[in-house]
């Protein structure tokens, strides 16, 4: 039986007759929460967001209310809000839907948030490849301005706020919040070191700045509507609200599906929601939270203790889809990008593909990352070109271990985790590839260089 989605953020997305213009949005109760927000005390909105327990949807899962609490309100400097719409973690495609199909929800969520933190200027940093998304947002902002929902003296409240849509230009590192800020200041997107450069204290133009993901800012609108307490009842304690799972790879029905946190297991997501694997195929592995999250092997048992002390013993299909359960099995729910691989997948090639991505995207600021990640790419590329060595798995692991934890930003981990987890879970395949190629050489056969993923 197919599980029913419970859509909150995606309530109107793809609904028949729903269009992205402001009239349609207003007809569906749009901007009612902004009207309510500007009559509230800003600190009360912050309290509701804290009470909701909502955790950031961009990847790290840090509680948004806590992030807001770090804001330096006493500096006397202007406060800025930035919406991170760089959506660049491979496997993630939820923000695109919101921007294209319900842009006013994002704008309303942003204005409510901006009011709560008393920002007079907000930015949407949108990835450069979203040409259409950029035009849609610009148009939506002008629609909202024409109705006095944005700009000077919003709805006569005395509060003013403008939004600038700022386009990126194809660099993954701009999804890292301090890299994004550097980019927005007109520089290379080299992330800043924390401390001291926590954006809430020293962000854009060295002013207090809050950077939140598109989905998180949309959540704020719903938190105002429902109240923080009621919002926190969706999902489970510590894993509140809904998540939009973006499923890609080897399933029958890839796509985006919204469920309360922990409402379903990974097995239900794959089999009931996404129609299972292609005929005749078996599940081999899942990357559950965007390409930097650690891979899970289909035939492993996951045992351990959850935060609250309960013991678990799960197969891959039993893992509940929420922040804490995916962390407990050694991975993360990250940005919600679930990449499914069936038994046709060559794991060395899959890792070679991922390494190519991270080598391409390293900003080059820290030596371990700048030198190490392209080195890992070279090793896996050589393995796929018929020159694999039995010691390559250990070599790769050794390089990855020297990157993680030794860089200014979390990109070092993002690039190291796939390598570390692929080797931990599939070392046999890496060694096997080397042996196979050695025996071909022995027999005088040409190297097998036919690949599908790299």
């Amino acid at each position: 039986m197919a599980l029913e989605e419970q859509r909150l953020i995606f309530k109107h997305i793809d609904a028949p007759g729903y269009t992205r213009d402001i009239d349609c949005y207003l007809k569906h109760g749009g901007y009612e929460q902004l009207k309510k927000a500007v009559t509230m005390k800003p600190e009360d909105i912050c309290a509701e967001v804290t009470a909701s327990g909502v955790r950031g949807r961009g990847g790290a899962g840090f509680p948004a209310g806590v992030k807001w609490k770090f804001l330096d309100r006493k500096s006397g400097k202007p406060i800025y809000l930035i919406c991170n719409a760089d959506e660049s973690e491979p496997g993630t495609f939820k923000d695109r839907q919101i921007i294209h199909k319900d842009p006013h929800q994002l704008i309303e969520g942003m204005l409510c948030s901006a009011f709560a933190i008393q920002a007079k200027l907000a930015f949407i940093y949108i990835r450069g490849e979203f040409f259409e998304g950029y035009r849609i947002l610009e148009e939506a902002i002008e629609e909202a301005r024409a109705k006095n929902l944005l700009g000077d003296n919003i709805l006569g409240s005395g509060y003013s706020c403008d939004i600038i849509v700022h386009r990126g230009a194809g660099a993954y590192i701009c999804g890292e919040e301090t890299g994004l800020i550097e980019s927005l200041e007109g520089n290379r997107a080299n992330p800043r070191i924390k401390p001291p450069y926590f954006p809430a204290a020293l962000g854009l133009y060295q002013c207090p700045t809050i950077v939140n993901n598109v989905e998180t800012l949309c959540d704020v609108k719903h938190i105002i509507e429902l109240g923080g307490e009621a919002f926190s009842k969706i999902g489970t304690p510590g894993n509140t609200g809904t998540r939009i799972w973006c499923v890609s790879g080897h399933v029958q029905k890839p796509g985006y599906y919204e469920f309360p946190c922990a409402a379903l297991t990974l097995g239900q997501l794959i089999n009931d929601v996404c129609g299972g694997l292609k005929p005749g195929r078996k599940l081999k592995a899942v990357i559950p939270g965007g390409s930097s999250s650690k891979i899970l092997r289909a035939d492993e048992r996951f045992k351990g203790k959850l935060k609250d002390g309960t013991e678990f013993d799960w197969g891959i299909e039993d893992i509940p889809m929420d922040f804490d359960s995916l962390a407990a099995v050694g991975s993360m729910s990250g940005s919600g990008g679930v990449i499914i691989m069936d038994d046709s997948t060559d794991m060395v090639e899959a890792l070679a593909n991922i390494n190519y991505f991270y080598a391409h995207e390293s900003c080059g600021q820290c030596t371990p990352c700048r030198e190490g990640v392209p080195w890992m790419r070279k090793v896996t590329a050589r393995m796929c070109a018929g020159e694999a060595r039995e010691e390559d798995a250990d070599l790769l692991n050794g390089i990855a271990d020297q990157i993680a934890g030794r860089t200014i930003c979390a990109f070092g981990e993002a690039a190291a985790w796939p390598v570390q987890s692929f080797i931990a879970k599939f070392k046999d395949e890496f060694v096997e590839k080397a042996k196979e190629q050695a025996s071909r050489r022995k027999e005088g056969k040409p190297a097998a260089t036919e690949t599908t993923l790299i």
């Binding site: 202007p78 959506e87 660049s88 973690e89 491979p90 496997g91 993630t92 495609f93 923000d95 695109r96 200027l121 990835r127 450069g128 490849e129 979203f130 040409f131 259409e132 403008d162 600038i164 700022h166 386009r167 990126g168 230009a169 194809g170 660099a171 993954y172 980019s183 927005l184 200041e185 007109g186 520089n187 290379r188 997107a189 133009y205 973006c246 499923v247 890609s248 790879g249 080897h250 890839p254 796509g255 985006y256 990357i287 390409s291 990008g337 990449i339 691989m341 997948t345 899959a350 593909n353 991922i354 190519y356 991505f357 391409h360 995207e361 900003c363 690949t451 599908t452 993923l453 790299i454």
Partner: protein, 159 residues
């Protein structure tokens, strides 16, 4: 370098919106590139002067961001996503088909200057892999057949 009046107008409107002028550097690179097709030395100097910066300040961002180009593309700029979800959906095979039918190697521009074919990283539409962009337009679920159709349209100029 001659910019179109509408580009100048957009630039003039954009710069004062930012609290610090330098923030307009990346948007200006986009606007000038859209106008000129690429960012020449002259364009870099022009943007720097407009923002009261040194040319190196612009050159360093032009060389950092993959979407900013120092050379023009062909008439059709074809970008094939090759990141894992698209690769699992057959992006490499799609690209090979495009290479064959458009007679251009990936990473290059065809000799007649008609097509530039490139691999790019994730475009955030992984549920409809493989994803291909032609100019600013996105095409999804571009399997082998769809790739052939796309190539045919590019060749006869109907796209």
């Amino acid at each position: 370098m001659e910019l179109k009046p509408e580009t100048i107008e957009k630039i003039d409107r954009l710069i004062p919106r930012y609290p610090v002028m330098r923030s307009a550097a990346l948007p200006l690179c986009h606007l000038v590139q859209e106008d000129q097709g690429y960012l020449s030395d002259e364009a870099i100097e022009w943007i720097a002067a407009r923002l009261e910066l040194e040319p190196i300040n612009i050159a360093e961002i032009v060389t950092f961001y993959p979407m900013l180009r120092r050379e023009p593309t062909g008439e059709y700029h074809v970008r094939v996503c090759r990141t894992l979800p698209c690769a699992l959906g057959g992006a490499y095979q799609t690209c090979r088909r495009l290479e064959e039918e458009l007679n251009v190697k990936v990473g290059h521009t065809s000799e007649d200057g008609k097509v530039t074919l490139e691999f790019v990283e994730c475009h955030a539409d992984c549920g409809k892999a493989p994803v291909v962009m032609v100019g600013e337009r996105e095409y999804t679920d571009v399997g082998l057949e769809a790739a052939s159709e796309l190539a045919a349209k590019i060749k006869n100029g109907s796209l």
